[in-house]
């Protein structure tokens, strides 16, 4: 048992134990950072798609009565632009952008007031709401025995002023 009291080689043992732990911590930090970027991009994609769709006003109704009313294809426009925006971050996503956008819950409330059954919100103006679950690749989490795919839940709501 003399070897227990001998401190030769402790630096090597410490290095061998600490190095993998520190590398795992670094990898986790990198993956968390990448996930944060992905989350910001997905949120921006939904926000921009909802904004674009809300700008799509019913021009005939506006000219006739002066009231804002969403165009009939507002929900389609929102879904189309959500897919377009996601396409710009396609390498980060687990799945095709078309599938993700198609599965999104996109609702256009063409006139106000209206009630959102999903969120319970009341809208006093014409509104487009996008709610989506976006799967993002997190391979380093997968290698660390966590989930290789993280689903981001995003909700974007937009109304004209």
């Amino acid at each position: 048992m003399r070897w227990l009291q001998d401190d030769r080689g402790t630096a090597l043992v410490l290095t061998l134990i600490l190095a993998p732990m520190l590398l795992v911590a670094l990898a986790g930090v990198l993956q968390l950072g990448a996930l944060r970027v992905a989350a910001a991009r997905v949120r921006a994609a939904a926000d921009l798609a909802a904004l674009v769709a809300v700008n799509d006003q019913d021009d005939a109704e506006l000219a006739r009565s002066g009231t804002l009313r969403l165009a009939a294809d507002a929900a389609l426009v929102a879904r189309e632009y959500f897919a377009r925006e996601l396409e710009l971050s396609a390498p980060l996503l687990d799945g095709t952008t078309e599938d993700i956008a198609a599965a999104a819950d996109v609702v256009a409330y063409p006139s106000a007031p209206s009630y959102d059954a999903r969120t319970g919100a009341r809208y006093d103006r014409p509104t487009v709401r996008i709610a989506a679950d976006v799967p993002v690749r997190t391979p380093i989490f997968g290698a660390l025995v966590l989930r290789p795919v993280t689903v981001l839940h995003v909700i974007a709501v937009s109304s004209p002023r």
Binding site: A19, V37, A40, V52
Partner: protein
């Protein structure tokens, strides 16, 4: 030679050397990555705002460039080092317009390497000008 191997003189120096050569690059890697991430997020945010404005203007315009330069300046990014592309440069009513920003972020990790990481951001909006 045998006595030199058994002696523990200099052990602390050896341990410190090991620790520093391992911990310093790790620490700098975390710091540099954090900075790059912050820069990337700021650039992304500026790109989204610029795409929105490009839709309002109906494409590329000096006002858009000035707006973008201001957004980047506020985020602490030198706009002279960011390349901007607006495609197409002129759009009509309800036509898509894409704004792309690209810049290089210098990364330097002591004892390991120095390089520059390309940061790219893009956003799409829709033309709101009825020409």
């Amino acid at each position: 030679m045998t006595r030199a191997l058994r002696g523990d003189q200099g052990l602390a120096t050896l341990e410190t050397t090991f620790a520093i050569t391992m911990l310093v690059p790790l620490l700098f890697a975390v710091l540099e990555f954090g900075s790059a991430l912050e820069r990337w997020l700021a650039q992304d945010a500026a790109t989204v705002q610029a795409a929105r404005y490009a839709g309002e203007l109906g494409g590329d315009a000096p006002e858009l460039r000035a707006f973008l330069a201001e957004q980047l300046r506020v985020a602490g990014i030198d706009s002279d080092r960011v390349s901007v592309e607006v495609a197409p440069s002129r759009v009509g009513w309800r036509e898509p317009v894409r704004v792309s920003l690209s810049s290089a972020f210098p990364v330097s990790i002591p004892f390991l390497f120095s390089t520059s990481v390309p940061l790219r951001s893009s956003a799409i909006s829709r033309g709101e000008v009825n020409r």
